[in-house]
Symmetry: D3
Subunit: 135 residues, 6 copies
């Protein structure tokens, strides 16, 4: 049974759960768990559409997808918790701390210095937590 066969026999939900685990790790699972008490169907949609549909598409690598997501969330400035989850996701899929820092600094050009600063301070927290859990 090939990888392709495996993918096609999966439901969107199963594919999304696999993608979420690979990308967001614990941070993503905590979001799914937190939804249980308010909107369990929304947890299903979150697994199915962003992760089962979009992140599972072959046309762009997961590393490139996380560059796009980190940039977008930092530029918008309205999604600090999700930005932290995706800075960690970036590390999970192969971005270095230096590369993530470069992406966030670049946002000063497009969304202003406050957006870049708030992104960098979010990264500082995530990197610190990530060092601790390495110990």
């Amino acid at each position: 049974m090939t990888q392709n066969d495996l993918q096609s026999s999966e439901t969107r939900l199963e594919r999304g759960q696999r993608a979420l685990a690979a990308i967001d790790g614990e941070g993503g699972q905590r979001v799914i768990d937190a939804l249980a008490g308010i909107a369990p169907d929304f947890a299903t949609y979150l697994l199915e559409f962003p992760f089962g549909d979009i992140y599972s598409r072959p046309g762009l690598s997961l590393r490139d997808r996380e560059i796009a997501t980190i940039a977008a969330l930092a530029a918008m400035g309205t999604a600090q918790p999700q930005l932290k989850v995706h800075i960690e996701a970036g590390l999970n899929v192969g971005l270095s701390q230096e590369e993530i820092t470069e992406i966030l600094m670049q946002m000063a050009v497009y969304a202003g210095f406050p957006a870049a600063l708030n992104g960098l301070f979010a990264a500082k927290e995530v990197f610190a937590d990530s060092h601790q859990s390495d110990g």
Copy 2:
């Protein structure tokens, strides 16, 4: 004389002009020209800070920088002319039309379907112009 020596003897303005030409091509030069009649100093700042400082940093490739910029501008939804310039810049620095389309589709997840749609329609225009000028 090494590439490094060359870079260090350049002014920020010269380095920015070189980076702008390599990345944004004609689209970028048109912005610089349009500023002449209203704020010529701002054209200098635009060359110096975004292009001379940020895009010239070694820690992230130009291809990765354009993924970040296209994602950010599409997610913000307030910079349609600049989004078009950077979709063209993305093609200039090695992103394929398919990759750019994937980035824009992904923005539906983080900034909503209208942001993705407006980004995709901007790309449709840029790709059409880019085909014509190939002929």
Copy 3:
């Protein structure tokens, strides 16, 4: 065969197509058609997730859903084409012109007078077109 049986035997795509036709009418179909030349898969996602999943849920009437959408798009101020489609959709699912005007005026409180003004001028255009096609 009951309505419920009909719904459950439909695919998400079919349910989305039925919902889009009922809600957005011609305006929605034009968006789907325009996507064909740039990102046909995104047309599928647009039918499946917003229309097949969200708008097809029983917990909120279509009329109430369009109040929410018109308010959100006017407040965001970055989705003028989609706002027009949904002002027309609002009329299709039972909102009166007066009710839509009240929603848009109310946005002055939450997103400022420019957001309300730009929303009202969008409605003025849609209402004028809708009168013409009645004739």
Copy 4:
């Protein structure tokens, strides 16, 4: 003396105070009180324009107005304290917890999944507080 006579003999401020009490309840009064130490005139404007003028207009029900406000504030993502006040206001004027949850889930389509998630988590807090005060 009819309800209409009563309304017309009221000042905008009195009408606004009555509307605020009916809609936002304690949450609204806390905002008015907090303004006393920094900008008491702004408390007056807040009562007069949003509540005395807009919410007191007859063309849209209070329930429909709160659908619009909850959707707008969740989509904007920059007004978390006000979103919580209006989720409680929505419950006060007849929206069910299920309907509010549907409105917030729908915002994923127009403003992205982070906007919907942050809205749903705000609702989770308000619903929990509202249960406690029922006990």
Copy 5:
């Protein structure tokens, strides 16, 4: 009869009409006229609250108020027609073209280079029109 007596005997609407004429001139009146066909009550609110209440307050000069408005509208990036009206209003109440250009350039720091660029190009149009009508 003193200026103060005059002001207090005016209604908010009359005070707003006087303020709008002094500040926005023809550009403001065109907005009021355009509202007639869609939401005439909103024209009244626009005169009463922003102009009759806020701009008529003594604690900040009209020149300073227009600095704030031009900065805010350029930074938001969602209100291009209103930004143009207020660039013209800035000229009406004593800001020089150079000062307006400085305000817009400064927005690059807080809202990004695209916001500054789109603001500067709006100013370029307004300044050109203003020169023509001087001729």
Copy 6:
């Protein structure tokens, strides 16, 4: 040696450090210090471009520049820490508490009542801290 000679012999970084100290005081220095552990080059850019280039330009007074910045940050609603730094900066360069309060109230017109409220509550905190440190 004239003031002009002094300025021209300074580097952009030195000029920026002098401007930051004069404008933002301790609040600005804390931001620079916090960047040391994540992106020290970004601290340099922050001193050079916003402060060494923009705030050091002669065409607009520091007082007027802070009116613009406070208005922009309050209207955007995504930069609460930076808004507080600049409310303090406004006091440093000659704005009164009353003038700052007027600017923030005015933002209700352009960005909605929540943006104004969140700005006013930020000012309330800064003014309280500033009174304490006067003691």
